[in-house]
C-alpha cells in the first residue's frame, strides 16, 4: 500500500482502478489521502465538525460503491470526489428539513454519451494544470478565487476580509475565472 505522501496524480488514478476491483488497501490509501480534504471542504461550507465527519464517511462509501463508474477520461479523481461531496452535502441539507428532495444529476448518474476526446493521461493531469494555472495568477486574484470558491461567506465578507471594495472583489474574481477558463478550455 503506497504511503499517502507518495501518491501523486498518476498513482491516484491507479488507486481508483484497484478500488473498482475491490481492493480495500487501495481504498484505505485514497481515504487517508483525500478524506481530510473532503472534511475540510464540508467544514468550510458550514457543516459542524461532527456532521462533516459523518458526511465524509458517506462520501467515501459512495466512492467505494461507484468506483467502477469512475471514468478517468471524463474527470480527475479529486474532481470526481469533490462533486460527490458537494452533492452529498446538498442531499443532506434537504433531508434534514423536508421530505421533498431535488437537485442536480450526480456525476455518477450522468448520461454516458459523447465519448471524450481526452485520453486518460491528459485528464489525470488536468487538475494539476489548473493548480499550476492558479499559482500563476497574481496573488490578489489567487486570494479572491480560493476564498470565494470555498467560503460560503458572501463576496461582501471577502471584501471585508481582504479590506477591499466589493466591486474589486467581483472584478478580481471575474478576471481570475476568465484566465482559468482559458486554461481549462485546453484540457
Amino acid at each position: 500500500m503506497p504511503k499517502p505522501s507518495d501518491t501523486g496524480p498518476v498513482e491516484i488514478g491507479q488507486l481508483m482502478s484497484r478500488i473498482a476491483a475491490g481492493d480495500r488497501a487501495a481504498f484505505a490509501a485514497l481515504f487517508q489521502l483525500a478524506a481530510p480534504r473532503v472534511k475540510a471542504y464540508l467544514v468550510r461550507l458550514g457543516s459542524s465538525s461532527a456532521a462533516a465527519e459523518e458526511l465524509t464517511q458517506d462520501v467515501f462509501l459512495t466512492v467505494w460503491r461507484k468506483a467502477d463508474r469512475f471514468d478517468p477520461a471524463k474527470a480527475g479523481v479529486m474532481t470526481w470526489i469533490f462533486v460527490i461531496a458537494r452533492n452529498r452535502r446538498i442531499d443532506g441539507l434537504r433531508r434534514e428539513a423536508s421530505t421533498v428532495t431535488y437537485g442536480t444529476t450526480p456525476p455518477e448518474a450522468a448520461d454516458d454519451d459523447a465519448p471524450s476526446a481526452h485520453d486518460q493521461a491528459a485528464t489525470t493531469q488536468s487538475e494539476q494544470r489548473v493548480r499550476q494555472a492558479i499559482t500563476q495568477l497574481p496573488p490578489d486574484q489567487q486570494a479572491v478565487i480560493s476564498l470565494s470558491y470555498w467560503d460560503e461567506a458572501a463576496h461582501a465578507a471577502i471584501a471585508q476580509t481582504l479590506n477591499i471594495p466589493l466591486g474589486t472583489v467581483k472584478s478580481r474574481l471575474r478576471l481570475a475565472l476568465m484566465r482559468l477558463r482559458a486554461v481549462m478550455e485546453d484540457l
Binding site: R44, T56, L61, A75, Y102
Partner: protein, 212 residues
C-alpha cells in the same frame, strides 16, 4: 402532473446564469431554491454544463490544496467496517418527481402557481408559475435576488424576450413586471430570496392568495 419533454442534449439557449452564479453552483454554495433553478437550466444547456464541468475541475484542483481537517482516529476503520453495507436507496432528486408533487393553485383565470418546498431556507420561495397569453404578472419588488427559468412559452421583461430554456437573473433591488410574450402560455420556475413585494393592490391580493 406537470411534465416537460427532455431537452435536446446539444441545445444552447440564449440567456444564461452569470459566471459567478455557475461558480457558486459548482462549489455547492447556492441557496436551495437557486440551486434548483440553475440545475433546471443545466438540463437544457450544453454550454453551461461544460462551464460547470470546468468549474468542477477547478473545485477538484482546489481540493488538492485545501488545508486538511484531521478526522477522528477511528474514521478509516469505521468506514472500512461499513463497506459491505447495502447501498441506501438514491434520494429522489429528479426534477420531474418534484414537479409531479407540486400542487397547482389557480389565482385568477389563466394564472396558477405551484409552490415547491424550500427545505432549510423557509424565507425563500420556489414556485412554478403559469401565465396565459396576454396576461402579465404583478409588478413587484423583491428583497433579495430572483432567478427565473423559462420552461415553456416565452416571457418578456425589460424589453428582452426570454424563450424556453433561458434563465433570467435579477438583483435584489430591481422592480419589474414580466409579461408573457407570444400566444402560448408561459410556464416558469421562479426562485426568490425573501418574499416578493407586489407594488399594486391587485398584485398584493394575488400574491397573498398564491402564498409567494
Amino acid at each position: 402532473m406537470i411534465q416537460f419533454p427532455p431537452a435536446d442534449p446539444r441545445s444552447v439557449p440564449n440567456h444564461h446564469p452569470a459566471l459567478d452564479t455557475l461558480t457558486e453552483y459548482a462549489a455547492g454554495q447556492l441557496r436551495a431554491g437557486f440551486d434548483l433553478v440553475v440545475a433546471t437550466h443545466l438540463r437544457g444547456c450544453a454550454r453551461c454544463r461544460s462551464e460547470v464541468a470546468a468549474l468542477e475541475t477547478l473545485g477538484g484542483s482546489l481540493l488538492n490544496t485545501i488545508a486538511p481537517a484531521p478526522l477522528n482516529a477511528n474514521a478509516l476503520a469505521a468506514t472500512l467496517a461499513r463497506l459491505d453495507e447495502p447501498a441506501p436507496p438514491p434520494p429522489a432528486r429528479n426534477l420531474d418527481q418534484l414537479l409531479a408533487g407540486a400542487r397547482r393553485r389557480w389565482i385568477v383565470p389563466g394564472i396558477w402557481v405551484a409552490p415547491i418546498d424550500t427545505p432549510h431556507d423557509p424565507d425563500d420561495r420556489v414556485f412554478l408559475l403559469r401565465v396565459g397569453p396576454g396576461a402579465s404578472t404583478a409588478h413587484h419588488r423583491h428583497s433579495g435576488a430572483e432567478m427565473t427559468q423559462v420552461l415553456s412559452g416565452a416571457l418578456s421583461d425589460g424589453g428582452i424576450i426570454y424563450q424556453a430554456g433561458d434563465m433570467v437573473e435579477l438583483a435584489g433591488d430591481d422592480a419589474h413586471h414580466p409579461k408573457v410574450a407570444g400566444d402560448q402560455p408561459c410556464i416558469c420556475l421562479f426562485a426568490t430570496q425573501g418574499r416578493l413585494k407586489p407594488t399594486t393592490l391587485a398584485g398584493r391580493i394575488a400574491f397573498a392568495l398564491a402564498g409567494v
